[in-house]
């Protein structure tokens, strides 16, 4: 979700995030409960149709799939040996289809729309849960990933420059200190932007 959104004007892009989330949950559940290879093959055609309808670049979708390929490279041979080809193919197709559908959602939906959808979903529980606060927490969690990545990269560079390459402490301590300081600054910036109430 970190900067994955690809702008466009397709029907899938224009569909409300809440509807897309509902359909994603329903389709992934239906796929997860399916045991027939033939039906899953049919589901592949449906998902291919959704991808075509979304008109998202295939290379961006492929990038979403790459981390899954590592998992499949380990899980499929094990399933093949232990449970036979049919289950191995079923597991692989279920995972692939679920990730492709999730990828289409991420590529066609800005994070703000997902946050709005999450807030709408939480509205019935507003007596117990502050939906705005949950939305903000989600946004910050998403933002923290690249921010932490940058801190780790800078600390690793500094460690290398000072010749302390083997030391885990030389990474852990400055990363934690800088992460906490960054969290302080981020909090201050949120207050300055009027998000303290």
């Amino acid at each position: 979700m970190i900067g994955v959104f690809h702008p466009g004007g397709s029907l899938v892009h224009r569909a409300p995030a809440l509807l897309k989330l509902g359909l994603l949950a329903a389709l992934v559940t239906a796929i997860a409960l399916q045991h027939s290879v033939l039906v899953l093959a049919g589901a592949c055609l449906v998902v291919a149709g959704i991808v075509a309808l979304a008109r998202v670049p295939l290379r961006l979708l492929w990038r979403q799939l790459v981390p899954l390929l590592w998992l499949l490279a380990i899980a499929v041979p094990i399933q093949l040996l232990v449970a036979g080809w049919e289950l191995a193919v079923t597991v692989a197709l279920r995972l692939l289809l679920a990730v492709v559908l999730a990828g289409v959602y991420s590529l066609t939906t800005p994070v703000t729309e997902t946050l709005d959808a999450a807030q709408t979903l939480l509205r019935p529980f507003r007596r117990w849960i502050d939906a705005d606060r949950v939305g903000l927490a989600l946004a910050l969690a998403i933002r923290a990933i690249p921010l932490l990545g940058e801190i780790v990269a800078e600390v690793l560079d500094a460690r290398r420059a000072r010749g302390a390459e083997g030391s885990i402490r030389a990474v852990a301590v400055p990363v934690i200190v800088r992460a906490l300081r960054t969290a302080d600054h981020l909090g201050e910036a949120l207050v300055a932007r009027g998000l303290d109430d």
Binding site: T112, L147, L186
Partner: protein, 244 residues
């Protein structure tokens, strides 16, 4: 222009007085604050929108007490920090600018219009859908400005907005700051940024030591730095003479 009033304001951190009995009334369009590290200039700037509260005295913005009416004051006062990275909250440029308006509860069409205008104002339209964390330092600082000004504050406070930027990006951000209609309070070490300002305040040891037009205040600040440098050189020379 809005009126920012400091009434006998003091603030200490860890027993050290960082701002010491400061009284000011800021009504000019562009005001600069300069001073050495630890002189209290950033603390003074942070008090304007309540990021730091005074231990004694009070700060008023358009008659509103910052300590008591912080929320109303923060709607009037935007703040831009030195490190733009820590101000970015949302993944894309457009979403980050739009994020400021979430609490304004505007109709989607009006919010979009304001976001488009803010992006165009800072030359970010082309970058609207880009991941915000992958922008250059200068672009991030312009995004920070757009994200703050989309909320239409009457006053913008910027704490060393060009310190982390290279010369080209610093000039670009300075050009944008100079063209703003909003009342502007800028803390900066880059004195050329303040040349065309209406008023410059020089801070030293938590106190205002000079408060005048740039033509008077900036040379006074340079003198102050030179005096400190000479004193430091004297200490270094003495240390070298005593070395065996």
């Amino acid at each position: 222009m809005s009126a920012i009033v400091f009434e006998r304001v003091s603030r200490s951190f860890d027993g050290r007085r960082v701002v010491d009995d400061v009284s000011l009334e800021l009504v000019e369009h562009r005001i600069g604050i300069v001073g050495a590290n630890g002189s209290g200039k950033s603390t003074l700037a942070r008090m304007i929108n309540g990021l730091v509260e005074p231990d004694a005295g009070r700060v008023l913005v358009d008659g509103l007490d910052v300590a008591k009416q912080g929320r109303e004051v923060r709607r009037r006062v935007g703040f831009v920090f030195t490190n733009a990275d820590t101000q970015i909250v949302m993944p894309t440029v457009r979403e980050d600018v739009a994020f400021t308006l979430r609490r304004h509860r505007l109709a989607p069409a009006e919010a979009n219009e304001r976001v488009d205008a803010a992006l165009a104002r800072f030359g970010l339209t082309e970058l609207a859908e880009r991941p915000a964390h992958r922008l250059s330092g200068g672009q991030k600082q312009l995004l920070a400005l757009a994200s703050v000004l989309v909320g239409h504050p009457a006053i913008l406070v910027a704490d060393e907005p060009t310190t982390l930027l290279d010369a080209r990006n610093a000039r670009r951000v300075a050009r944008h700051l100079a063209g703003l209609d909003e009342q502007l309070v800028v803390v900066s070490h880059q004195l050329e940024l303040l040349d065309d300002f209406d008023r410059v305040i020089v801070m030293e040891g938590g106190r205002v030591v000079c408060d005048d037009v740039p033509a008077v205040a900036l040379p006074r600040y340079r003198e102050l730095i030179d005096t400190e440098d000479e004193a430091d050189d004297g200490v270094t020379d003495a240390a070298e003479r005593t070395r065996p």
